[in-house]
Amino acid sequence: MRVIIPSSLRSYTGGEGEVEASGSTVAELIVELDRRYPGLRFRVIDEQDALRPHIRVSVNCEIVADLSIALKPDDEVALIQAYSGG
């Protein structure tokens, strides 16, 4: 599936703003991204497996809070930096 990477994480993806990756859930997708781009997961998910306070995930343009939500191969997932001031 297509995954949109925010500018703050492109140092991990070699500058790529979009990558193809797979996972049956959002959580699994992020694990897969971390396997390919080591270090990425901990920047967006904390040690208690929760999303960082200023990170959001959207699936097909809908913000999701539950990382166990199922994904389909043709979904589009975006990791998003929430607007959080200067």
């Binding site: 703050s8 920047r43 967006v44 998910i45 904390d46 040690e47 960082r52 200023h54 930096q81 959080s84």
Partner: protein, 382 residues
Amino acid sequence: MKRSPTKSNRAGTPAVLIATRKGAFILKGDANRRSWKLSEPIFLGHMVHHMVQDPRDPKVILIAARTGHLGPTIFRSTNSGKTWSEAQKPPAFHKVPEGQKGRVVDHVFWLTPGHASEPGVWLAGTSPHGLFRTEDGGKTWNGVEGFNENPERPNWCGGDPTPDGPKTHSINIDPRDKDHIYMGFSSGGVMETKDGGKSWRHLIKGLDVVGGFDGTDPRVHDPHCVRMHPQMPDRLYQQNHCGIYRLDRPAERWIRIGRNMPKQIGDIGFPMVLHPRDPDAVWVFPMDGTEVWPRTSPGGKPAVYATKDAGNSWKRLDGGLPKANAWFTVKRQAMTADSLDPVGLYFGATHGEVWGSRDEGKKWGCLAKHLPHIYAVEIASL
């Protein structure tokens, strides 16, 4: 006290490692400390809380960073800051079972290179309170279980939510004994371990606390900066939320040497710097701790105060600093000294200026300006 023979500032020329809210910078001086050149930003936009050189391997520099969005991590350079790589396993607390509330490292606040006998070992203090250790130069970090997981830990520290979170700081390793460590906790007081972090005890006798609190409760103590003299490790100094103190071990009771400061200045502040060779010489940067705690230079007149007699008397040092209308704030990690003779002093202020003195504080000059909010400055040799 007589000074030990002069030491050089390691190899190379002095450099000030500057950690700011919007990235890091290296301010490199010439051998005479007369001209300074500022680097390009390093990790521009990252909140860099500390940037420290390894005295055991001076090409190694660690940076503690996070961004407004992304979680905390540590970056490591092995070539004096030319290139950087990220920790494979940054400091993180254990995951707790489902249904329980676990701790999350918000930011790594403090970095201390380990004992000279343990190359590659560093300690890191975090917010919320946590102590982490690496044995591979910063690539992988693990919690010091005797502190982080100690069932007594909630009774030791963390009761007072200081601005921007509770902080574990001032990690001082005894040069005579790698397992003997002092640390500061805001809040939580000063603690000591003699077994490398397995067990801990408080050193809070003699310290004042804010009126209305019980001074026997370590959770209400707030040491802003604790320093151990490298050549006289039984001597500790402390700039506390409630004054300036000295402790000469094995004594257990701190002495409030800040009582000897001018009354109109007071003895409130954040940073504290020790002379590298003279255990009686200390510099502080007082701040306004009256009424609502502005944390600015008293009266808008920035000054460093120095003692050369272990705190029995203090002298104002403001040559070259603005004489009025200058409301500097200098944070606890934002003042440092080199080891040259005479000693060079450096501080960074939250309005983005770095000031330096080549003569132990008698005369000051602005070395860099227009930087972001400065969190920390540390001396290095590059």
